[in-house]
């Protein structure tokens, strides 16, 4: 019994020390530990470290909860309009690949007419499509918002041969009509 006593004291001490040390090093969640390490190593000013704001809906949802995105409808509309303007400007700066642009505009025009029938013979107003070398911009107006939703969904579902991905904007006009704006990226 006497031989065991010193060993038991050492073990008890090790138990307590191990518990205290373990608590000290692991009490913070992994993400908090990671941020501490990162702030020690990264000397870039916070403003320069910030990622640019997301422009595509899927990326916006991935980083911002939906209630936050739609908390203020006026702000959401303004943000959406600003993103659309930015995408339009970027598309205007692209060089033109005439062969691809002409063929794709024709294919989209045929598809637009086809899906208008599929959506219940909806009337597509002010249709326009302009393709350059990497992106096509498609615009159209509809008397009813539901027509805009159906037509644009049918068009984009069937646009796999033309587009790798696309961004859709629908905005309600003061007269009740709806404006569709699509930016499709070349496949």
């Amino acid at each position: 019994m006497r031989g065991i006593m010193p060993f038991a004291i050492v073990v008890a001490f090790a138990l307590v020390a191990g518990f205290v040390i373990g608590r000290g090093t692991n009490s913070a969640p992994p993400s908090a530990n990671a941020s501490v390490v990162s702030s020690r190593e990264d000397t870039t000013p916070p403003s320069a470290r910030q990622a640019p704001p997301a422009r595509h809906a899927a990326a916006m949802i991935a980083t911002t909860p939906m209630p936050t995105l739609l908390a203020d409808s006026m702000e959401a509309s303004a943000r959406q309009r600003a993103i659309a303007v930015e995408m339009a400007a970027k598309q205007r700066d692209e060089p033109i690949d005439a062969a691809w642009a002409t063929a794709t505009e024709k294919a989209l025009s045929d598809l637009a007419a086809e899906v208008a029938v599929a959506a219940g013979d909806v009337e597509v107003l002010d249709y326009e499509a302009e393709c350059r070398s990497a992106t096509c911009r498609i615009g159209a107006r509809f008397a009813e918002d539901g027509e805009a939703q159906d037509w644009s969904n049918f068009l984009l579902t069937s646009s796999g041969p033309q587009f790798a991905n696309a961004e859709l904007f629908i905005e309600r006009n003061p007269d009740g009509s709806s404006r569709v704006l699509i930016f499709g990226s070349r496949r």
């Binding site: 065991i4 191990g18 422009r55 595509h56 809906a57 899927a58 980083t63 991905n165 859709l168 904007f169």
Partner: protein, 173 residues
Amino acid sequence: MSRLPPLCIAIMSILWADSAQAVDVSRYDQQSAVGLCQAQLPAHRDSLRARPLGLTNDGTTPIFVNCGWQGDDAAGSTRGATRISVNVSNGGTTPIVVNCTLISGFQSGFVTQATYTPKAIGVTAGSGGFIEWVPAEVAGAPATIKLPSVSCQLPPKATLQYTGKVYSENVGS
């Protein structure tokens, strides 16, 4: 000395339990299209047959079918999808092309913005195939697809059989 092994185990257990971190486990949810998808227009519904193993277009013109998954848009959540898939088949006697698109977006009142990732697959008579999407294919390259929907154009005799979603779930330590 015979008490040494249990004591060592006790010490190691305490240290191990305390240092263990939260773990993300990969999950795969598979669901028949009948429980997840529906026709977009009333006219399309007339042609759609909703059977336990799939939704079939029994009409003579193409119809559009939409499917929506559960999502999680909480900040910092790891449950967003890392792969979305649909299985389609051709019950007709001629080859068909099935067009589908992944949609991730939001809509409220007068605001609609959505990201589309369209794809197409050719399916020979009597066979089937998968269309799959991963985050890298989506415009804006999100880390995961948090609120996925899919829209498919089903030609006559095409069936949307089932859907799949791969995601991570935090199961604690």
